[in-house]
Symmetry: D2
Subunit: 224 residues, 4 copies
């Protein structure tokens, strides 16, 4: 059995959504002390209070989720875009601002952003969501380059077609739309959450200490 | 002389900033009727009023500018991120929402977003700016794929190191920091605004009708 | 009418294939003296003799064509790979070796490689072709960075789905396979050769002097 | 301790060069039966004989090495390019041709190509090497998309600045040129071979079963 995270204090945000359950579970199996937070990080002061409460954080899994509305770009509303950014980008920035100083001081730490491949390749009818995910990935590249000067590692995945409670609930998997999308995906199936979590854990482990500001797609052939 | 835009109605936003002056000038030289807007598009209703006033728009140059603060990711503030998004991403979405319907109805139209290469490759001390520019580029990819179904073309440039009043005022060009950056840039000089505008005009012309949701870097070797 | 190439001496290779006809025609319309070569550049000494015969070359359009065989990677033969490289990569290197010295000496010159988007995104059943096109694009990135030190510009397009005598003869356009591929392509049609040539001419013109070692996709939404 | 490869038959090529030693060592530590081949795979029939001799192969680590000559593109010779392709691309194709059929038949198997980040971002004075590495990566994208139809996984790393006997011998690490390059690299140090091997092992393990035709950069910030 792997034990890469024994004694590590790991904060997982939106822990009941998106990759939260799978990452938390696998982190615990590998010995981490997981702080699986499910609070609403869009509220003023929520991020800062959370980080203060947890205290020492070795690994931050910036797992942020927001179900999206399917709509054409000319119909998707401005409040919808604001909502996407409020859920996906602003909490990410607050988390980085809150966690980075202690990591810089210790010259140690890992931040992994669970991102989306929809920001890498256009995905019709999801423009606002793609924009917010695109903001995350560009942010990671820059923060990654800065943080490595302090021996802190910041990277991201860019996943798509991974089973999770937020984007692929069982009800959706029963639809024709879902089945049609699976036919067009080279691998022809969803990833399990645990499969996808293995890449997140790799980027959170000491094994990936040479990887800087990188975005790793994980998408069953949706992007190559 | 080229005359690719004779009779075309072209809206250029933030026309006194960033690529606004060079693009407006060259568009006029090629026969366009240019609406060089310099109003504050962050105000409620401003974008909608502008598009209503201009009426028929053949080409939208979504040129949006926001000078950035140089600061580490752990120091850059949340209001700064909000400001970047308010200037760069929200007006873009409003512009697309306001202009796309008439273009879809006519099955004709061009939208060119003047973007930044700092969203493609990390740029230390500019994380919030990079995030907002990253949002723009991911948005363009998705909107581009949607709009082509209606014969409307949406693409972006991703420029860096282009002389312009917003990011490279003469005072900055006199600093040692600037000279140091020029040494590290393979081409070793700034682009003129007119040089860079030529790519924007290419993407706004009928010559680029086969290009869909694409981001074209323009950066003197900063990215390859 | 544009006249960007008045008096320019332009060498176009494989001039009867791929983008050769469209580029040669448009270059002439813009005033260039075009050397439209149709000789077999795989023969020993052919490239060197050609460049010597033409003499002064302002612009090299490295347009190299090789029809590919449709075959799975485990069936595509080694001679087929050798053939692809002999047609696409080796002549490119010889052309660069032969032309670069005079351009470096004059501190002026443009090399545009007509490349393929199949090297950017996997294309099943065309592995050897993709490999040879991938070699071209990686080569361009490196040569572009070197050549700019001497004020010589080297860039590439990465096109797909462009009508041309080599890859889209009329007979193929009548097949069901072709019609099926068009349905999957976001833009739903082939580019004309002249449309695509406009990007090649842009990269060959003085307008693109700030662009270094870049690969510009041109693919109707096949890549974004 | 991890034991992801217990009972797996793993073929590592050029096992004394490049990533061969580190990958072989770590594979053995995780229980694999490693066939660490050091024969010259450029010889006619060598690849086919090797694969026949090994028989059942669960994992192929296509680790191919060729020290490069530092030379400008106009000086690098054609025999040098031929040598790079003979060492890096042709053996890769032969290995894929020889190994893929048994993997397709069993509907199981992993091929990981150890590639180079110099193919992603230009690297002056190494044009031929970059071209051959670019051929590898484009080939992987296509073969990856094909192979997944048979439940076979083909992916690549694109590494740079990793300590290994081929590209970073101790003598080179003592030079000023090396020290200068380290200053320009964001992470400021070489990766150890074992660190880099961990990504290769991830792509060779069942954990990465959802990853298709992907190229994962591993480069200390050289690319983001």
């Amino acid at each position: 059995m792997k034990d890469r995270f024994t004694g590590r204090r790991v904060l997982v945000t939106d822990a009941a959504e998106f990759m939260g359950p799978a990452v938390s579970e696998m982190m615990r199996e590998e010995g981490a002390e997981v702080f699986a937070d499910t609070s609403d990080l869009t509220k003023v002061g929520a991020v800062e209070a959370l980080v203060k409460e947890v205290g020492h954080i070795d690994v931050l899994i910036a797992n942020l989720a927001a179900p999206y509305t399917i709509a054409g770009a000319h119909e998707a509303t401005e409040p919808d875009l604001a909502h996407m950014l409020d859920r996906l980008m602003f909490p990410l920035q607050r988390l980085v601002r809150a966690v980075l100083p202690q990591m810089i001081e210790r010259r140690a730490g890992k931040i992994v952003v669970v991102g989306s491949a929809l920001a890498l390749r256009g995905a019709a009818m999801r423009a606002n969501y793609a924009a917010a995910r695109g903001a995350q990935l560009a942010y990671v590249k820059t923060v990654g380059l800065e943080a490595i000067q302090h021996n802190v590692h910041v990277n991201a995945t860019a996943q798509a077609y991974v089973e999770n409670p937020t984007y692929y609930p069982p009800a959706y998997q029963a639809t024709d739309d879902f089945k049609q999308r699976m036919k067009q995906l080279p691998i022809g199936r969803l990833s399990t959450g645990r499969e996808a979590a293995s890449l997140v854990l790799y980027l959170a482990s000491e094994d990936s200490n040479f990887i800087v500001g990188q975005v790793f797609p994980y998408a069953g052939g949706f992007v190559t």
